[in-house]
């Protein structure tokens, strides 16, 4: 399983989101609180900055290496400013069938497309579904797929539901609708194939202005053979997702987080809270879609049932 973080709001130095929090994404790569173990397979970040050239398009940094040994990443993140970012630590099964390379590192973001996606989850038996999913995607998008992950194919499938994936700034509702449609199609494929093992699909999708996140699973409670949840980990058998919304990201009471004010101007979404004090965080409910829409001077954050 992977770990992800997404930020949207007032401009920050990337280091303040990726490295500074007590339980930052980089720290979670080594010491996740809500997960028993992780086999690390790469790190990636996509970031947008309103003040950068071609501000609609993000820059990306993806490596099959590990973030805590990455001096280049650390040096870069201390200088780079961002008004939106997605960060992702890839975790894989301990199996020689996993493909660990740069092409499979999240977030996914194709050349010229302002939308990026990162996923914390795993579609069971995806290799057997890949051709079904590919058939649902127009050739001009399908040809862009470089890697072998379920996540990248989901990214292409979601893009295929947008009227113009190359256009800057998607409408948040259009993006949310595209995610819902893609998940419904995946459910149909799974039903047709008779696949019914639990498959988590926690997604964060953003174009740098709005953000859509899911806490979702197909067939929750239909465990894989050999999974045991008799121990403490059982509390987290539905892959976790948390968020904190507030005013002014910064160091508040010794912890890096959004500030306590309202209306909200900044949002963080993460696999687990980034701060040890969890009172500023809320859990995204299971089977829910979170939508963050920028207003004049605020971010509207709403949650709704995702009935895919």
């Amino acid at each position: 399983m992977c770990r992800l973080v997404a930020y949207l709001g007032e401009q920050v130095i990337l280091d303040e989101v990726l490295f500074q929090p007590d339980s930052s994404i980089v720290e979670q790569a080594v010491h996740p609180q809500l997960l028993s173990a992780m086999n690390l397979a790469g790190f990636g970040v996509v970031a947008w900055d309103d003040e950068s050239p071609s501000a609609d398009l993000p820059w990306t940094y993806r490596t099959a290496g590990l973030p805590f040994f990455d001096r280049n990443l650390r040096a870069l993140s201390r200088k780079a400013r961002a008004t939106a970012a997605l960060g992702h630590v890839r975790g894989v099964m301990l199996s020689d069938r996993e493909v660990v390379n740069e092409q499979n590192v999240h977030p996914f973001q194709y050349e010229g497309i302002p939308i990026a996606l990162a996923m914390n989850g795993d579609l069971d038996r995806f290799a057997e579904m890949r051709t079904d999913v590919a058939d649902l995607i127009p050739p001009e998008l399908a040809k862009l797929v470089e890697g072998t992950t379920d996540s990248e194919w989901l990214y292409a499938l979601i893009l295929s539901h947008l009227s113009d994936p190359f256009a800057p700034a998607a409408d948040p509702e259009e993006l949310a609708g595209a995610v819902e449609k893609a998940l419904r199609q995946v459910r149909e494929v799974r039903e047709r194939r008779g696949f019914q093992r639990q498959s988590a699909v926690n997604l964060v999708v953003s174009d740098g202005r709005c953000l859509v996140a899911t806490r979702f699973a197909f067939d929750y409670g239909w465990y894989h053979e050999g999974w045991t949840f008799a121990g403490g980990e059982r509390r987290y058998d539905f892959t976790t997702l948390w968020y904190a919304a507030g005013t002014g990201y910064g160091c508040h009471d010794g912890e890096w987080n959004v500030g306590p004010g309202s209306p909200s101007t900044s949002l963080i979404v993460a696999s687990e809270p980034l701060t040890l004090d969890r009172s500023a965080w809320l859990e995204v409910p299971e089977y829910c879609l979170l939508v963050a829409t920028p207003g004049d001077d605020r971010l509207e954050v709403s949650l709704r049932e995702l009935d895919a």
């Binding site: 929750y220 239909w222 008799a230 306590p260 009172s279 409910p285 089977y287 709403s302 049932e305 009935d307």
Partner: protein, 329 residues
């Protein structure tokens, strides 16, 4: 700092309804391990998220239970005074603290390590366990009532609200036990407390139900005569308000649906439906009583497993409370 608690800890323990009927030797052993504490007004007894490994008995003063909300706000959930117990749910299941507890005036009392309460035999007294279990159930009902109220106050009820309309799902049907069911159950919470022979003895002859995705499994406002334990899939319980529903719990494998039926009185404000296609074990309340009252180790483990799940449901019900209270401010 205020002074140490005055009075006799043994007398204070003996005055608790919870320990009525407990052998004097058990209370004496408990009194011997009691640790006195005192707090000035405004001092914290513990914070939300701290390990729930101690039970506290208040001798004087008063303590308020506080839920901290995003934005630095607080929701005062309860206020307790002289003779009150705090953290007794730790006797049923070890969970981090759900609330922070702060002294509103100078307060004193005694604290007991949950592990010691067990070792000293207090949790072996069936009457004590029954009472603390009942207390957990009553708290669960209070949580659901509070949620109901919060939902009414805020009809927008931001959070996990969804349309209350249930899909037109197929009927719930009785199914055969799946092959190798016992081997599977041994790996699942709740059932992992029992040996394969015990699983067979306690649950072997009971009915397995299959509920299609979306099917209602516990009707509204009706006390069913059973508990349902999820074997596969998931059942969600919700409180309805207007045209919306707010989820109070998502019960995956090894989780119980219909706890409040154990109170055998009053109406339950929650309705449940299969969120995924589910296989459920139907445990008649008579069977629950029969197992818990047999007085052996198996019966005690069964009781503890049921009550531990009630405590878990309490935690889950707090999530929408935080969300609704945060949105309502």
């Amino acid at each position: 700092m205020s002074s140490m608690p005055e009075g006799d800890v043994l007398a204070a323990l003996g005055a608790l309804d919870l320990f009525e009927g407990a052998p004097p030797a058990v209370l004496e052993r408990l009194a011997a391990v009691a640790r006195p504490f005192s707090l000035a007004a405004g001092e914290y007894l513990f914070h939300e998220g701290d390990p729930g490994d101690r039970m506290m008995l208040l001798a004087s003063g008063s303590v308020e239970g506080i839920l901290r909300l995003p934005g630095g706000r607080e929701l005062e959930a309860q206020s307790l005074g002289h003779g009150a117990l705090i953290g007794e749910m730790g006797m049923l299941a070890s969970h981090p603290r759900r609330l922070s507890a702060r002294a509103s005036v100078a307060t004193a009392g005694w604290s007991f390590a949950a592990a010691e309460i067990g070792q000293l035999g207090a949790t072996e007294v069936p009457a004590v366990m029954r009472r603390v279990g009942r207390l957990a159930l009553e708290r669960l009902r209070e949580h659901y009532e509070l949620l109901s109220e919060l939902c009414r106050e805020d009809p927008r009820a931001e959070g996990s609200s969804r349309s209350a309309e249930l899909d037109d799902a197929g009927p719930v049907v009785v199914v055969e036990r799946e092959p190798e069911e016992t081997a599977y159950l041994e790996t699942v919470l709740f059932f992992s407390a029992f040996s394969p022979a015990e699983i067979e003895e306690l649950f072997g002859d009971l009915r397995r139900l299959e509920a299609p995705r979306g099917a209602p499994v516990v009707p509204d406002s009706e006390q069913g005569p059973t508990l349902l334990i999820v074997l596969r899939g998931a059942v969600e319980s919700s409180i309805r308000h207007g045209g919306l529903a707010t989820r109070t719990r998502l019960a995956g494998p090894g989780r119980i649906v219909g706890h409040l039926n154990l109170l055998r009185e009053g109406l339950t404000p929650v309705a449940s439906r299969a969120r995924e296609r589910s296989i459920l074990l139907e445990v008649p309340l008579d069977r629950v009583a029969q197992i818990t009252e047999r007085g052996d180790d198996t019966g005690r483990r069964f009781g503890r497993a049921v009550y531990a799940d009630v405590v878990d449901a309490l935690f889950e019900a707090q999530r929408p409370i935080s969300r609704l209270a945060a949105a309502g401010g």
